[in-house]
């Protein structure tokens, strides 16, 4: 069998500048249009805010990789190269909106405001997500693929029932798009016109399996036509375009006009996780092509050309990045394992007699270990 598909790496790469976004729409008959330019209303202050979040994200990501190599984190799934797709998306949300991330969206979740130490709980080997979802209106980083997309749809349906004008944004990847839950989520959101924005970060690989083995089509966005919602394909390495596309989708959802599927075409510059080895499945040349389109450096270049940032601002951002990295080091090196007895506390609202019995057993074991 021969599989002829266009590569995910040939994304819609037209960077239109700081006041324009460009994306391809999925037409009703299910074909991608040519990229269209759209005005984006971002002030210089907002552009600087976007850059700050991307630069900090990059620093947080690098620090998390270092902490993993040094043993402070058990594993880490890097967002290196995907900062624009994540930061641009969450930047389009309002304070009351909800975010449903996966383990790939550490920096998007960071950019949404979740405390950086709390959000790394998953990778530090903790049994819990590390933060209170209600405090940040962010669901736990989720590892069973695409499952969280249905939670976003349910929350959005509930918001509609309560007449709350909020939006739920969920991320998933090109690999997760093959899961049944991804289809069920897209379809149910469309059927109920739920205020959901689906952002697929198409980074070309599901661990080692390339995009062409996930689908015979050239784009995840095309699926929007199959469920009856608008689909958008955008350069996921251009933060202004990602923001513009997702903001359009968020506004549409908030107006009551239903969900949108946004495909942000990007590339995972690092391995799947710190436990992965990319040399077994992809070439250095391919990665080098994408390195040349680095979303953080590219954005900085145009901000400088446009006179939006000066060296003092950049030094400030650098310093904040170093301070954030220091906070991560301080908190995560030698972090206590926690009290093992707490494993019984949150299984049910009230621990059952069965769990109380098992807690007592553990208590005796721990006491005996202490005494010996």
């Amino acid at each position: 069998m021969s599989v002829e598909v266009s590569s995910a790496t040939s994304g819609p790469s037209s960077f239109p500048g700081l006041s324009k976004a460009a994306w391809q729409d999925v037409a009703a008959e299910g074909a991608l249009s040519a990229a269209q330019a759209h005005d984006v209303d971002l002030s210089d202050e907002q552009l600087r805010a976007l850059y700050r979040l991307m630069a900090l994200s990059r620093r947080v990501d690098r620090q998390a990789i270092n902490l993993t190599r040094q043993g402070a984190l058990g594993v880490f799934a890097s967002s290196h190269g995907q900062e624009a797709a994540q930061v641009g998306s969450v930047f389009a949300l309002d304070a009351d909106d909800w975010l449903f991330p996966t383990y790939r969206e550490t920096v998007g979740t960071f950019a949404r405001g979740v405390d950086v130490v709390e959000l790394l709980a998953l990778f530090s080997g903790s049994w819990h997500c590390g933060f209170d979802p209600y405090r940040y209106r962010v669901a736990p980083l989720t590892t069973p693929l695409a499952t969280q997309a249905l939670h976003a749809v349910g929350l959005a349906m509930a918001a509609r029932i309560k007449h709350d004008p909020i939006v739920a944004l969920t991320f998933f990847g090109d690999g997760a798009a093959s899961e049944g839950d991804a289809h069920e989520a897209l379809n149910m959101a469309a059927v109920y016109s739920a205020p959901v924005v689906f952002v697929v970060q198409n980074n070309g690989y599901a661990i080692s399996v390339p995009f062409r083995l996930q689908t015979r089509t050239s784009s995840i966005a095309l699926r929007a036509a199959g469920v009856g919602m608008p689909g958008i394909r955008v350069d996921g390495n251009d933060v202004v375009s990602v923001y513009g596309a997702v903001k359009t989708a968020v506004d549409r959802a908030r107006r009551g006009d239903g969900p949108t599927l946004v495909e942000a075409v990007t590339y995972r510059l690092e391995a799947h996780t710190t436990a992965d080895d990319t040399t077994r499945y992809r070439s250095d040349d391919e990665a080098a092509e994408w390195r040349a389109r680095d979303p953080v450096e590219g954005f900085l270049r145009v901000l400088r050309e446009g006179g939006v940032v000066d060296e003092a601002f950049l030094a400030e951002v650098d310093a904040e990045g170093e301070a954030t990295a220091a906070i991560m080091r301080d908190a995560l090196f030698g972090a206590p394992a926690g009290d093992p007895r707490e494993m019984f506390d949150h299984v049910y609202a009230t621990p059952t007699a069965q769990l109380e019995g098992q807690r007592a057993l553990l208590e005796r074991e721990m006491q005996a270990a202490e005494e010996s």
Binding site: T147, M157, Q354
Partner: protein, 324 residues
């Protein structure tokens, strides 16, 4: 008034929705049709399509969206149309429904109910007579309930909807038409308590869901045919299990068996037998026996009566208990 179990479940849903406007009911065919078993009959007409509605045929979607709804403060009560079609939702149930409170260190409880008509005995085609209770009771974080009478169907469903933890509510579909004289709202012991349905001295018969009726029938016949005075204990809540009531009964009678439709191997009865042997060993005159379905895929409707435990199979086991 005389009410069937189906009617009692319908009344429980209606009363819960009337009392608490955060309760929403949805699933396949539950809206306009009122459910294939009519458990949700009339709810959409009374409560509106925002609170009782039909879904696409997507069981994982039904369970997954219920999580999001509960996260946002609603109390969803969703229906899996048949036991055999609940399996696509298992990933959501095991990975999230059961674990969300723990995953969020207690910040997010999920007050939701997943109703599943389960078990055989209605002459159904394949995949419509499954007994999946062991899958759910083996999963930490779930509360698993199965009523054996119309009164309990009403009381336990009301209590399940009011609970701040997720509940798998297993409805014994062959007993949907079982009738009982009830004054609503009927009250009953809470979730987590077993009940002695019939006090006796000869041996303890432990049952739940569809087998409660069968166990009671066996006890009635035993009294007449053999002069045995059987004690019948209805488990009611499969998880968390009220082992104290079971231990007290087995300790008193000195002989116990557990009966369920599900297959025997690594079945729910094995847990009860093991716990009784640990906690009542000194009081038992005989090993705890299991009266169950066979370790085969559920058989065809034409021969299902040979698979399903009935009063005869229970009484044969009682005779074996008495041989020790």
């Amino acid at each position: 008034m005389e009410l069937t179990m189906a009617g009692a479940l319908n009344a429980a849903l209606r009363d819960s929705m009337r009392e608490d406007d955060t309760v929403v009911v949805y699933g396949e065919d539950v809206g306009r049709l009122g459910g294939v078993f009519r458990i949700t009959d009339g709810l959409q007409a009374e409560m509106g399509a925002d609170r009782c509605f039909d879904t696409p045929v997507a069981e994982s979607g039904i369970a997954g969206t219920a999580i999001g709804m509960a996260l946002y403060g609603l109390r969803p009560v969703v229906e899996m149309q048949f036991d055999g079609f609940s399996y696509p939702a298992l990933n959501q149930v095991i990975s999230h429904v059961a674990k969300y409170r723990n995953r969020t260190r207690g910040h997010v409880g999920l007050p939701l109910v997943i109703r599943i008509p389960y078990g055989g005995g209605i002459g159904a085609v394949e995949h419509h007579s499954e007994s999946p209770e062991a899958y759910y009771t083996h999963t930490a974080g779930l509360t698993v309930v199965s009523p054996g009478t119309p009164a309990d169907a009403y009381a336990l469903l009301r209590a399940s909807i009011a609970l701040d933890d997720p509940v798998i509510f297993l409805e014994p579909k062959r007993r949907y038409w079982l009738k009982e004289d009830l004054d609503l709202p009927v009250t009953a012991p809470p979730i987590g308590e077993a009940i002695v349905r019939r006090a006796g001295t000869t041996a303890t018969v432990i049952a739940y869901g569809p087998m409660v009726t069968t166990a009671m029938e066996a006890a009635t016949r035993a009294a007449v045919e053999s002069g045995w005075d059987l004690e019948v204990v209805d488990v009611r809540t499969l998880s968390p299990l009220d082992m104290d009531t079971l231990v007290a009964s087995a300790t008193k009678t000195g002989r116990a068996l557990v009966v369920h439709e599900a297959a025997r191997f690594v079945g729910y009865g094995a847990e009860i037998a093991a716990e009784l042997s640990e906690r009542a060993f000194g009081y038992l005159a005989a090993p705890v026996l299991r009266v169950t379905g066979f370790d085969v895929p559920y058989p065809s409707a034409k021969i299902e009566r040979h698979f399903l435990p009935d009063a005869d199979r229970i009484l044969d086991a009682v005779a074996r208990l008495l041989e020790y």
